[in-house]
C-alpha cells in the first residue's frame, strides 16, 4: 500500500540553512547537506530545499549544495524558490533535484507549467500555492505570501494541474506558524478538486496534528513542516511510529 509521506523543508540562503536549527549533535547545524543526511537517516520520505537566496552568487552556491546533497542523500529532493523560467528547471534538475516547485513564477508566467511539463514530465512539476482566506474566499498570494493576487485558489490550482503540474503543495498562510494544526478545511477543498498528490503545509505543531491531518483528509498524501523538525520538537522517527500505531500507512 502506498504510504503517507513526511517531508522536512529546509530554507536555504547563500548555501546555509536559515531559521535556527537546534541539533547539538550535528557538527554544523546550518549545513543543508548534514541536515539532509540527518533527516534521511531519521526516516524522512523526501526533502524540500527552498532557495531564498536573492543574489546570483548565492544561486551558484545553492546549486553546489544540491550536488553535494545528491552525493550523500538517496531520497527524492524537491527544489523551490526563484523558479521563474524553464532554464531554472534545467539548472536544478541537472544538479540532482527530482522535482521542482513553482509558486510566483507560475502566477507571473502561466506558460511555465505546461512548458516544463512537456520538457521534463508532469512528475517533476510541483505547483506550490500560498493561500489565505480573504473575505471568505481562498486567495493565492505571491512573493512569499506578501501579495494578494485576488485569484481564487482552488480553481487556480486545478488549472495548474490541468496544465501539467503533477503534485500540489498547499501552504495555508492562515495556519502557518501558528502551530495549531494543518488547515483541514482548505486541504479538503483542494483534495476534492484535483487527482494528483497533495502535500499539506503550514500549521504543524505536534505529532497529533499529523494524525488528525491524515485521518480527517484521507486525500492528503504528505505532511510538510520545518521548524518543529528543526527545533527537535518532533522527531520524524517518533512521528512515523505513532502514525503506524494509528494504522496510518507509513514507511518505517
Amino acid at each position: 500500500m502506498i504510504t503517507k509521506r513526511i517531508i522536512p523543508c529546509l530554507d536555504v540562503k547563500d548555501g546555509r540553512v536559515v531559521k535556527g536549527v537546534n541539533f547539538r549533535w550535528l557538527s554544523d547545524v546550518n549545513s543543508p547537506v548534514e541536515l539532509a543526511e540527518y533527516y534521511s537517516d531519521n526516516g524522512a520520505d523526501e526533502l524540500v530545499f527552498y532557495d531564498i537566496t536573492a543574489s546570483s552568487d548565492g544561486r551558484k552556491i545553492f546549486t553546489e549544495i544540491l550536488q553535494e546533497t545528491a552525493r550523500h542523500v538517496f531520497i527524492p529532493l524537491t527544489v523551490g524558490g526563484g523558479i521563474s523560467a524553464v532554464s531554472d528547471f534545467e539548472r536544478v534538475l541537472s544538479c540532482g533535484a527530482d522535482k521542482v516547485s513553482v509558486n510566483t513564477g507560475a502566477i507571473n508566467n502561466p506558460a511555465l507549467i505546461p512548458e516544463a511539463a512537456k520538457l521534463y514530465g508532469s512528475q517533476c512539476v510541483v505547483i506550490s500555492a500560498d493561500v489565505q482566506r480573504v473575505n471568505g474566499e481562498f486567495h493565492v498570494f505571491a512573493r512569499g505570501g506578501r501579495d494578494d493576487t485576488g485569484i481564487e485558489a482552488v480553481s487556480w490550482i486545478r488549472r495548474c494541474v490541468d496544465a501539467g503540474a503533477g503534485e500540489v503543495v498547499l501552504n495555508s498562510i492562515d495556519t502557518d506558524g501558528v502551530k495549531q494544526g494543518f488547515d483541514i478545511e482548505m486541504l479538503r477543498a483542494v483534495c476534492d478538486a484535483v487527482n494528483v498528490p497533495v502535500i499539506a503545509s503550514g500549521g504543524a505543531g505536534c505529532i497529533d496534528d499529523f494524525v488528525r491531518l491524515f485521518r480527517e483528509v484521507p486525500g492528503v498524501d504528505a505532511g510538510l513542516a520545518a521548524s518543529i523538525f528543526h527545533f527537535g520538537e518532533v522527531k520524524i522517527s517518533d512521528l512515523k511510529k505513532r502514525l503506524h500505531d494509528e494504522n496510518i500507512p507509513v514507511r518505517l
Binding site: 500500500m1 502506498i2 504510504t3 509521506r5 534521511s40 520520505d45 550536488q67 545528491a70 552525493r71 550523500h72 538517496f74 531520497i75 527524492p76 534538475l93 541537472s94 544538479c95 540532482g96 527530482d98 521534463y120 514530465g121 508532469s122 512528475q123 517533476c124 503533477g166 503534485e167 487527482n195 494528483v196 498528490p197 498524501d221 504528505a222 514507511r251
Partner: protein
C-alpha cells in the same frame, strides 16, 4: 574495460543515478558510445518521460541494436523506470510503440486496472512483494519500501515478475528474464534499500 555503463540517450537526468553508484563504490561511465557498451561488464538503461520519444531516441541512435546484442551475449542489463518499460515488446503510452522486446509483455496505463479513487501517477513509497526469486534482492528483506513514480506499468507472464507492489491491485514492480533485469521504481531514490539492490545487481556476473 570498465565496470558499469549508464546509457545516455538524452532522456532524463543521470546525476543522481551516477551518485548512487559512486556511493556503493562503483565507478560508472555515462555514455552514448556503442563501444563503451560493448566494453562494459554491465549496462544500466535509465529513463524518464514518454515511451515513444525514448524508444525513438534509442532506436535512431543505434544504441538499441547494441543493447539487444549485448543482452543476447549474456551481459547483465538493468532497466530503471521507463528504462524497464523499454525492455518490453510494446507500449500503449500516447499511441502504440515498439520496445526492445527483450522481455515479452506490454506497457499499459495503470488507470485501466486500479480503483478510480487512487491517484495517477502512483508517486511515493510502496512495499515490495517478492514473486520469483531474483539476484538483485539478495540483500533485501520482504516488504521493503521503494520509491515509485509512474502512470504506466508492465503486464507480462508471471514467470518474469520478481516483485509486485500493491496499488489497489498488484502492479509489476520488477522483472527478470535471465540476464535482463528491470525495476519500475527508482533504486537511486529508495534510500539504503535501493542502494542494496544496486549493489546486488553489480555482483551479477555474465
Amino acid at each position: 574495460m570498465f565496470t558499469t555503463a549508464i546509457i545516455n540517450y538524452g532522456v532524463g537526468n543521470l546525476f543522481s543515478l551516477e551518485c548512487s553508484f559512486n556511493a556503493i563504490g562503483h565507478e560508472v561511465t555515462i555514455t552514448s558510445n556503442p563501444d563503451d557498451l560493448k566494453n562494459s561488464e554491465r549496462i544500466i538503461l535509465p529513463g524518464v518521460g514518454a515511451f515513444g520519444d525514448a524508444a525513438e531516441k534509442l532506436f535512431s541512435s543505434g544504441l538499441a541494436d547494441v543493447l539487444i546484442s549485448e543482452a543476447q551475449r549474456g551481459k547483465p542489463i538493468l532497466g530503471i523506470c521507463l528504462g524497464m518499460q523499454l525492455l518490453f515488446t510494446r507500449s500503449y503510452e500516447f499511441g502504440e510503440y515498439e520496445g526492445l522486446n527483450l522481455i515479452p509483455g506490454e506497457v499499459k496505463p495503470i488507470r485501466d486496472v486500479i480503483p478510480g479513487s487512487l491517484k495517477i501517477p502512483q508517486m511515493g513509497w510502496n512495499s515490495l512483494t517478492f514473486m520469483n526469486p531474483s539476484a538483485i534482492y539478495s540483500r533485501t528483506q520482504r516488504d521493503s519500501y521503494v520509491y515509485f513514480v509512474h502512470s504506466y506499468a508492465a503486464f507480462c507472464n508471471e514467470r518474469y515478475i520478481t516483485a509486485t507492489t500493491d496499488y489497489g491491485v498488484p502492479l509489476t514492480a520488477s522483472v527478470q528474464r535471465e540476464n535482463v533485469y528491470g525495476v519500475q521504481y527508482h533504486p537511486e531514490k529508495s534510500g539504503n534499500v535501493g542502494l542494496d539492490i544496486l549493489r546486488s545487481f553489480c555482483e551479477v556476473k555474465s
